[in-house]
Amino acid sequence: MTQSNQPMLEIRQVSKQFGGLDAVKEVNLSINKGEIFALLGGSGCGKTTLLRMLAGFETPSAGAIFIDGEDISQVPPHRRPVNMMFQSYALFPHMTVAQNVAFGLKQEKKHRLSKPEIANKVSELLSLVRMQDFAERKPDQLSGGQRQRVALARSLAKKPKVLLLDEPMGALDKKLRSEMQLEVVDIIEAVGVTCVMVTHDQEEAMTMANRISVMHEGEIMQVGTPSEIYEFPNSRHTAEFIGSVNIFDAEVTQLETHYSGLTCSDFTVPIQVEAGINAPIGAKLAVAVRPEKIIMSRQQPEAMSNWLTGVVEDIAYLGGHSVYYVKLSNGKRVMSVGTNNDRHEQKVTWQDQVYLHWSNTSAVVLYQ
């Protein structure tokens, strides 16, 4: 990976309104050369609008976009050093695979390429995506995964400074998706192109991207590496959007140097977190605990904090692990995940009284 500190793509205070509604609100992002960056969010969060502004299909209502130091906000799409792989792939149905890949190369105005040069580049690109045997096929004679490879080759043909991927795996079935995720990343990293992808699938973002930005209602909620986003969410929305989480509304009662204490009506014991809390005593906050961080047992833990008790209401057996839904006495449901590492083990079952426990380092305090 060729990462340097000079940003390849800079988005400064970019906003976009559609008919008075804010689709994108004052977004600032700086993306490094060679990075794979994911815009992650639910539908209508503004991620696609932001991507389309990078491609030039929409112009920002305010703010500016810089690629390699150059302001491209007003440059039409066909003059931008940016190429996009469309969600539907948008392969030209009346052209063969080779013609599709060659299309961008034929548009070069400054350095017009000769026919053999184009043919060479096309076969290079097709072997990069392992499609050299399909050069003369039409797109409708290809499978979904093959079409995606062709689309990727086509968008890489002009050696763009920034490659845009719009829901790259959206049109593939689940099994093919995980295969292609790794393959696409391998190709992008081999080429070394800076890449911005849009996805609603957190697993896809975490598999493929070096950094993720979580978007919600046109705003960026958090930017970070996949593990930062997962382990240290900065908001209730991010914590809930990425993976599963149990959230408890709590009140700060204790501020010590090595830990902080909180109370919550769901608990008979206090909650403790390792770090200090940026709020005064009496502040109302939320505490988030991921289900896999919770240890479930039939015996009451010896610890004086971080446990609660309830009755197993539901078990979702997922093969590798099971999700247990534990109902507290006040009716609230808490999720816990246990791995199924023993085939015959007599595990906890429905209506069992269980204790859920976690360590001081497991919970995250959410301020907003």
Partner: protein, 291 residues
């Protein structure tokens, strides 16, 4: 096969047999007969006399079409006029269809209505209205003279130009509608992809929009070309004596000369000429449907 199924398939066949095949067979039969001053004005193909059944096929009508060059000139001129009118129709209709297909859904229906609405008036009256517009003291000439652009009226009525105006005007919806249906299906992301890959707007049109609308262009052209070749009302009302079209010749043979056998032969040859583009069109359509 059940009775119900059979009748569902049978009804259209029955329709075709009654209203297409039967008239065709009658015309085909007449084209081999001889003209006669009788009712009907032609001889029977089969005669029964002295216990002999005689079938006499008169090929003279067909031979006659090639002896007098009027007919060949009329066929060629019809095909030329229909082809040029089809091309003009395509050039006018394509931007119209493109704009309608790209318009907001609410505007789209209003625009489509504007294209279809003129067809609600009688075809004859609409063509007749053009006489008033094109004639020497008609709307256009009077207006241009009032402006002082011309001193004396331009001859527009009774020229080939007037025929082009008439055909393009009358058949425009038949070109617009298939093009519109086709352009509606055009995936916008393909146009974006072409632009994204560096194609300027006109290049996007030439490389993506135009080739992908081929089916619409062919369908629209057939719908205009085929009826335009045999068109009678437009050349008769707007074309005057100078314009030679096969529809007019056909009319004259039937109603002026009362030579039904020659008129039938003219009609059969015209059908044969049109068979070629129709077959090509169907073959193309069948291939399109496979995809």
């Amino acid at each position: 096969m059940s009775w119900g199924r059979r009748s569902v398939i049978g009804v259209p066949y029955l329709w075709l047999a009654l209203f297409f095949l039967a008239p065709f067979v009658i015309v085909f039969k007449i084209s081999f007969s001889e003209m006669a001053y009788a009712i009907p004005p032609y001889t029977d193909l089969m005669t029964w006399a002295e216990q002999q059944l005689t079938l006499s096929l008169n090929l003279g009508n067909y031979a006659y079409l090639f002896t007098d060059d009027l007919y060949i000139r009329a066929y060629l001129s019809s095909i030329r006029i229909a082809a040029i009118a089809t091309l003009i129709c395509l050039l006018v209709a394509y931007p119209i269809a493109y704009v309608i297909a790209r318009a907001e859904p609410a505007t789209r229906n209003a625009l489509l209505m504007l294209v279809i609405l003129p067809s609600w008036t009688s075809f004859l009256i609409r063509i007749y209205a053009w006489v008033g517009i094109l004639k020497n003291n008609g709307l256009i000439n009077n207006f241009l003279m009032w402006l002082g652009i011309i001193d004396e009226p331009m001859a527009m009525l009774n020229t080939e130009f007037a025929v082009y105006v008439g055909i393009v005007y009358a058949y425009l919806p038949f070109m617009v509608l298939p093009l519109y249906t086709n352009l509606m299906k055009l995936d916008n992301s393909l146009l974006e992809a072409a632009a994204d890959l560096g194609a300027a707007p006109w290049k996007v049109f030439m490389a993506v929009t135009l080739p992908l609308s081929k089916a619409g262009i062919i369908a629209g052209s057939m719908l205009v070309f085929i009826p335009a070749v045999g068109e009678f009302i437009i050349p008769d009302m707007l074309g005057g004596a100078e314009t030679l079209m096969i529809g007019k010749v056909l009319w004259q043979e039937f109603f002026n000369n009362r030579d039904w056998p020659v008129a039938s032969a003219v009609a059969i040859v015209m059908l044969l000429l049109l068979l070629l583009p129709i077959t090509l069109f169907h073959r193309y359509q069948a291939r399109e449907l496979e995809h």
